[in-house]
Amino acid sequence: MNNEYLIEVENLKQYFPIKTGFFKTTPLKAVDGVSFKIKPGETLGLVGESGCGKTTVGRSILRLYEPTDGVVKYNGEIITASNMQEYRKHMQMVFQDPYSSLNPRMTVEDIIGEPLDVHKLYENKAQRREKILSLMELVGLNAEHATRYAHEFSGGQRQRIGIARALAVDPKFIVCDEAVSALDVSIQAQVINMFEDLQQKLGVAYLFIAHDLLVVRHISNRIAVMYLGRIVEVGDADDVYEHPQHPYTESLLSAVPIPDPIQAKENKRIVLSGDVPSPMNMPTGCAFRTRCRYATERCATECPSLLDRGNGHEVACFNR
């Protein structure tokens, strides 16, 4: 039962049928063959531009969308649509928008208690309340506010409520979909620290999705960089951050503001030319070639696959 990896995603594909004519539908390849593995208690950061399919990866793993193709394993066992209900106790999600992710007609107590109700994780009302209060304490909420409605809280507090809800079933894996992107910078730091504390206390593994590399570097053990539905680079967080190999990662990193002005001057910003191609009309070969400085003819015909460059640092590029 005890596998090396908690979550294994193999060749995950998620195509959305989009109506393009009266009778015609064209698949939108939101996720096109993504594979990665996460060990227990580990954090994998997933970065990429907005629209590259990060959210879709997270939701397909949790079967909020039925994947078009691919396998997701929890502790070595394949998750299917029929046995998913059992795994919902082990895998949870924290959402990006702290406003639309909490039902405005429910009290904090009922929001956090919902997973407990669904899985009947208590014997009586007192036990339910006790569990809810301890969860609130765990995420730094004042237990006196259990009977309040979500709209009475600030963004950071609402996100804590969302985290408490995710923790209610005592999961081993949480997808954090841009969980701090909507928050003020000062509050982002608090919430990220809390995620780290919780990981130490409870041993949960995260798939930490963000578009900000700095945030991800801070919390992740490993980082995966996504571009148009595919992972183009994956490796240890420091490795990817300090020695990026894929041209796309390079440009992403050069866009990160550097606090030191002297160093910032030396660092040349690599500005990407052109727009992101539409996922409904992907370029042949390597999806990034239309914006790549190093693109050759080979890139137009063949699609590079992830190759290990040592130390588990994998890059999908012919030219680096």
């Binding site: 999600m93 039902n103 669904v118 809800r165």
Partner: protein
């Protein structure tokens, strides 16, 4: 921390820099006060509070409550019947025809002179010697109950149809909404009149001898017509609401915790759209009363001797020049009821629709 602040260079008087020394660290107590911004109220209390601040809505509510009290109590107090000719001391009073408000017939005057008590005809009498006030009261009763029953029917059909269409989406939704579009595009006045005539003829043999016969075929036809035509607006509203709510992350969160459709509908979708639906039902009532009134006015509404506000107005047309008050009484009641339902509905919407929340 404190020594840090003291070590800061003194602020130049002309500098726009903020003087750090002026800031104090918040105590734990103060931090906690910042935690919660607004006072805790439930959604319902909050809405009621705002509703009570709206004088038009409160006035309408009071008026409607008064109307309901009058139509419940008046038949017990007023000793006349809506369908029978007046009697004075057991004698049919043929002289009490078309009297003005508070006028007494000869027979009544004689009886009063003998020491008998006669209840005044507050709105006079009609050409069949019936007390007009009690007829208006019964007319209001009939019109109001038609309005309520029809609205509830529209609510039930529209709610079921709209929620199925909205919740399941996809092809089901597509087909169901095209049907709605077709019904929506029919000219409703024409359809109502045609259907009432046709249904009136087909229903009569069906209900003969049952308790439904008492209500009258026209009235049943009216309900059916109303239910057949007017639910589409409600269905569209419900579907739109459900689609909006369904796209919220909290529904996704509930699915991620493993909640089933039933629970999601019960706990997430219904509580978030119920107020909008009730408000539009309240706004449906005056429209149903109006439809009934004009159908009765055209002679397609309730069957005699049962009065409704519309049919009373219709009968009043004949003697319009001599007895204009016979038109004025039911017309004013219709206007006031419709107006107050509309004002109340608007007030409810302002108070409970979160999108308009200030």
């Amino acid at each position: 921390m404190e020594s840090n602040i003291e070590n800061m260079p003194k602020k130049n008087i002309f500098s726009a820099q903020i003087d750090v020394a002026k800031f104090e660290k918040a105590t734990e107590e103060e931090k906690r006060q910042q935690d919660v911004m607004s006072e805790s109220t439930t959604f319902f209390k909050d809405g009621m509070k705002r509703l009570m601040k709206n004088p038009l809505a409160v006035g309408s509510m009071i008026f409607l409550i008064l109307i309901v009290l009058v139509i419940l109590i008046a038949p017990k107090v007023v000793p006349y019947s809506y369908s029978q000719i007046n009697t004075v001391n057991g004698v049919r009073d043929k002289g009490a025809k078309n009297m003005k408000p508070f006028e007494y017939s000869e027979l009544e005057q004689k009886y009063m002179a003998e020491g008998g008590k006669v209840f005044p005809h507050i709105m006079g009498t009609d050409e069949q010697c019936r007390d007009y006030f009690i007829r208006v009261v019964y007319g209001t009763r009939v019109s109001l109950s038609i309005g309520l029953v029809a609205s509830v029917m529209v609510l039930i059909i529209g709610l079921l149809y709209g929620s199925i269409s909205g919740y399941f989406g996809g092809r089901v939704d597509l087909v169901m909404m095209r049907i709605v579009d077709i019904i929506y595009s029919l000219p409703d006045l024409l359809m109502v009149i045609l259907l009432s005539v046709v249904l009136g003829a087909t229903i009569t043999p069906l209900i003969e001898g049952t308790s439904l016969a008492k209500i009258g075929t026209n009235l049943i036809a009216l309900f059916i017509v109303y239910a057949l035509l007017y639910w589409v607006g409600m269905a569209r509203l419900v579907r739109g609401q459900i689609l909006t709510i369904k796209s919220n992350d909290y529904v996704l969160a509930a699915r991620a915790t493993g909640a089933k459709s039933g629970r999601i509908i019960r706990k997430h979708i219904i509580p978030n759209c119920i107020s909008v639906i009730f408000i539009s039902t309240a706004l449906q009532v005056p429209s149903a009363i109006f439809t009934e009134s004009y159908l009765s006015f055209l002679g397609l509404g309730v069957s005699a001797p049962m009065p409704s506000l519309g049919s009373l107005a219709n009968y009043a047309r004949e003697g319009l020049v001599s007895y204009p008050y016979k038109l004025i009484f039911p017309a004013v009641v219709i206007i006031l009821i419709v107006l107050s339902f509309n004002l109340l509905g608007d007030g409810l919407r302002d108070a409970f629709d979160p999108k308009l929340k200030k």
